[in-house]
Symmetry: C2
């Protein structure tokens, strides 16, 4: 039976009407009406962000999690959990805008071309000028054979392959160039010196002889769960000419990988996510190309890093098995594909190289990170940590590498925390609290009124509230503290960081007991990961001589505070290195130099993956780490000293 669903929205005066059968989800009906409702949890009914208001008509709510009784009385319902039972009129409240902000101002990294980079030795993509003998009645060789002969003479390539699409254009291009053409070929197969394939692949053919020193464009891409970064690189000089980044368009369909996998498993969900990340990458490529007066179709090679879920979703490969025991991917090392097949709007024949991952939760972002951090060639025992929406850890040196993944959740990216937000304009990024008055001082990204607290702000806040005694080591709020900022709130005890009057929204910005619990679980998962890895190889964490932190997470946090809450091991600050986006850096190295590319494959093979969910010691380590900074204070001597300095009782 069909029902009439009428949608009204704040920004549009005209209602939109669609017809759907009984039991259609409101989210699907809205999609049909062309209205996008954000589903940060991937449509699992967990986040409550897709709530809409039923003005009239009959619906059935499968779940009302996160909706207050009052809201339900006002007609609110979760679009992802509510089905229609008759004609219905729906009001869609203003949606959280996910800005497509090009964060070039914050992410630009100083990148120098690797020392000794030589295009003709290192690069797998080559541009070759060819002057062919025109055909005549005495030489009626076909165009394709003529081209191959010219290649063989000049380059000693034994065998060349070519797509049907290029064959279709070949005759016209050769004639337009009057038998002078410039070819771009992928020679990876002959460089790798493997027995498997001795052929080069034709990527592009242009009429005329193109200046051999003009740029030949490639791109290194990191697909983060939250942010996609793209570097546009001139493969001739090796220079990074443009760096751009923006939010992954999939965010509207889930903030973490699990939500994305859940959403992808719904009908049409996988394709929706695939198109969203493609749209993000294609937009970045277009933006980057504009800055150097190039066109996206001039990009002839792309090297892509990203976690295993991102890689599956990009390629349209079902990711469901990643989420379910025994947690395997469909593919850790995808074959090199043509851009046409992947769906990238660059040169359709461009080689798209998705870097190899190790396991469901240790993907190519980590192997690329290990490469760019130098961990795999380190003399001394080194710890590599990448905290994004998940936390991945690698421990090792040039002899051995062990790795694990902790489902830290996106708490440090601001999700799961009432006043949490991403590190953009208006986020409180650092907090200091006066130990006597409990009054805070804070710094806001971009200045202006605060809107919420981002990851580095939360770490800072957790540390300060602990060191000033507002929180005890179990994370309980000390309601005896003599300050109006410490109070009983809707979610238990809370501390007010900013009063409503100073805040953008006019409402108090607080951190509550529930928020603290989420943060403790996140940091405990990561610390437990360190512990298990170190135990696996039988070394104490203290013997680590270097801690390398990748991801944008590491760029803005204060090591001292991260140690104080027990997120990072208690080592001298000079042993920490914050490397920024190690994933895109690794992709850039692999894009330029085929030996580096081989090295990543080697890294992926060398890494021993420890599955924490199958590891009995993990739960113990996690439980012990659910405290500030840890149950075992002997592991955190610097924190003990700091507490003692502030005369706070330490209960070892």
């Amino acid at each position: 039976m069909q029902h009439t669903i009428t949608f009204t929205q704040p920004d549009s005066p005209t209602p939109i009407v669609v017809q759907v059968p009984t039991n259609t989800l409101l989210a699907d009906a809205a999609h049909l009406a062309g209205i996008e409702i954000g589903q940060p949890c991937g449509g699992q009914g967990r986040c409550g962000r897709c709530a809409v208001q039923v003005l009239e008509g009959s619906v059935r709510r499968r779940s009302t999690l996160r909706l207050s009784t009052e809201a339900i009385e006002q007609g609110f319902a979760l679009a992802c959990q509510t089905v229609v039972e008759g004609d219905v009129s729906i009001y869609i409240p203003p949606q959280e805008k996910i800005e497509r902000k090009l964060t070039t101002d914050r992410v630009v990294a100083e990148v120098t071309v690797p020392e000794g980079y030589e295009y003709l030795n290192d690069q797998t993509v080559r541009r070759i000028q060819l002057e062919l003998t025109p055909p005549s009645m005495d030489d009626q060789t076909d165009d394709w054979s003529r081209l191959q002969t010219a290649f063989r003479l000049g380059q000693r390539f034994e065998h060349m392959t070519c797509s049907l699409s290029l064959l279709q254009r070949m005759g016209d291009i050769l004639r337009a160039g009057e038998w002078n053409v410039t070819a771009v070929v992928d020679v990876a197969n002959i460089l790798e010196d493997s027995e498997s394939n001795r052929s080069v692949r034709l990527i592009d053919l242009q009429p005329g002889l193109v200046d051999e020193y003009s740029p030949l464009w490639g791109t290194a891409i990191d697909i983060g769960t939250t942010t996609v970064s793209l570097w546009l690189v001139d493969l001739v000089t090796g220079q990074v000419r443009v760096q751009v980044a923006e939010y992954n368009g999939q965010i509207a369909r889930g903030e973490d990988v699990i939500s994305r996998i859940m959403y992808a498993s719904k009908s049409g969900g996988g394709d929706d996510l695939r198109q969203r990340v493609l749209a993000t990458i294609n937009h970045l490529a277009e933006t980057a190309c504009k800055r150097v007066n190039a066109k996206p179709e001039n990009i002839v090679k792309a090297t892509i890093a990203g976690n295993s879920t991102m890689m599956h979703l990009l390629l349209g490969i079902p990711a469901g098995s990643i989420r379910l025991s025994p947690f395997v991917t469909v593919v850790n090392h995808p074959p090199v594909l043509a851009a046409r097949d992947v769906g990238l709007n660059i040169n359709p024949e461009a080689s798209v190289d998705c870097l190899p991952g190790v396991a469901s939760y240790v993907g190519a972002d980590i192997t690329a990170g290990v490469l760019s951090s130098g961990l795999d060639v380190a003399e001394d025992i080194t710890l590599f940590l990448d905290v994004g929406t998940n936390g991945e850890i690698v421990l090792g040196n040039h002899d051995w590498l062990v790795t694990c993944a902790c489902s830290a959740g996106p708490a440090f990216e601001g999700a799961g925390v009432v006043n949490g937000m991403r590190a953009t304009q208006g986020a409180i990024e650092e907090v200091w609290i006066n130990g006597e008055t409990f009054e805070p001082t804070y710094r806001v990204i971009g200045g202006g009124k605060p809107k919420g607290i981002c990851g580095s702000g939360l770490i800072s806040l957790l540390s300060e509230t602990f060191l000033t005694g507002i929180l005890d080591k179990a994370g309980n709020v000390n309601l005896m503290a003599s300050s109006s900022r410490v109070r009983e709130g809707a979610h238990g005890g809370e501390y007010v960081v900013a009063w409503g009057a100073e805040a953008e929204s006019g409402e108090d910005i607080v951190i509550s007991r529930v928020d603290v619990d989420n943060l403790l679980r996140a940091k405990a998962a990561i610390y437990a990961g360190f512990t298990v890895l170190a135990d696996t190889v039988g070394i104490p964490l203290e013997s680590v001589s270097k801690v390398l932190v990748g991801g944008s997470f590491g760029k803005y946090i204060n090591v001292e505070k991260a140690v104080q809450i027990g997120l990072l091991p208690d080592l001298p600050w000079e042993q920490f290195d914050f490397l920024g986006n190690t994933s895109v850096k690794g992709a850039y190295s692999a894009l330029l130099d085929w030996r580096k590319r081989e090295q990543i494959t080697d890294i992926a093979k060398r890494m021993t993956y420890i599955e924490l969910s199958a590891d009995n010691s993990f739960y113990d380590a996690f439980t012990s780490a659910l405290f500030l900074p840890h149950t075992d204070l002997y592991k955190f001597p610097s924190v003990v000293a700091a507490l003692e300095e502030k005369s706070i009782h330490v209960d070892k």
Copy 2:
């Protein structure tokens, strides 16, 4: 400025109305209206078959070739040469129906499986059952690596490739089969023992263990300019299970390759022709599969023969250079492609192998024909001839091969002859004429009233009219003959084969002086081809010990009569062999056995192509052959004997 064009048709009571701008071709306007007007000459204004009647309104005729003054007065205009200048009303006369006739009744050839065919030795496509170890927490290998490992263990394949599309389905297939799967792989690269590629390619993956003796489907296809033939083959047993054929859907856009190339060069023309031949092949594949309860997607390999123009049009490669000096193709030997890229509705990953050709007018139909005729391994000097819409000739033995192409034109397929038609129901296929009364006896295909004369009928008629003195050696009609059947017609002298009363149309079926000239030019081109080839290698035509005739043309003609008109060299009839469709037979051999496939590549390399248009001796040979049977009667002793027997003066 937009004009209203109103089309009326005999079969539909309602007129169709479209709006088009000034100067739109009537053919394009009709296409827009969904009305297909046949253009056998490819829209060059040469054949006159697209004539329509302008009932009202203003048009401009660019050309009126083939239209009588009377017809023009009645409003007739060539749809391919006439543009609109205002609102127009058009009547579309009944169109010649190109029947999609499955000619299985006539083309079925007895085919035996090649002696000693062994699927596991000869075939490049293999079906392999695999029992994988399911993943567990102790073995989290990704699906793709797991599959490759299973392959390597069982088959010793070093390296395997796989399309993105299969990767997308792989996880679900492995799980649906509970880790038992049946894979189909293309192992051509490792069989050829070439250094270029050592990998096998995954074509198909099915859940569960498929019976290894059940059919594995492949197809051999010959794309003729007129007819497309498709054989459905069980690759396991090697048996041809179904043979089907039907007219190439491109016929409506030109009857010969030149017309097709002209049409393809128009905007959208190439794509139209590509889609038409794909529709024909896909329909044949569907029909063939139905007969054995298979599905087209079960076909995992296709081997295709056809002339160079057909190959270019199939693959969407511009064919313009074939027509223009220096007559080169874009590609003589296309790479093996996936069915998905070609556009065949069989298994999307099926290997589509387009066989190699030699030159613009000696294509893969001829190399395949040489293979199946055995010419390339013959001890004695052998002549191979394939007459379809073009005539291709190969002369040689196991030591050497020379080849040329004669633009015979489609006269022997009934085109260019007023009462000519294809060899279908109603065609006069053989004629005998009484030497005294000049009264004919004839045989009609399918019995019933005659509609016209097909190729074998024309050869027979030419020979009989010549031997009875109705035609002289120059092709002039002897108007002095005492029979009402010999008369002066609209196109000069003519002979009436069937009176209107006996004919289907009610009008006399005749052969005129103009028809005779067309037929003489066609046969002279072919005979001149023999002459030039023999001269090139310096041997007399008489030293040829075998004449092999391929193509459906040879199946129905009478050798004696073909010799009498000087189409075939005057050799004893036991030296002629009529082989039927040698092209599809060659494709079948290559489909089954990779060594035969290699042999075709070798044949293509060995064949020396003689370009007749660049050969001065060709014109002389052609002129000498423009007579019945030839200027030089010493070349045709048996014809001289026949004439003398009939007391006809022979002017040697």
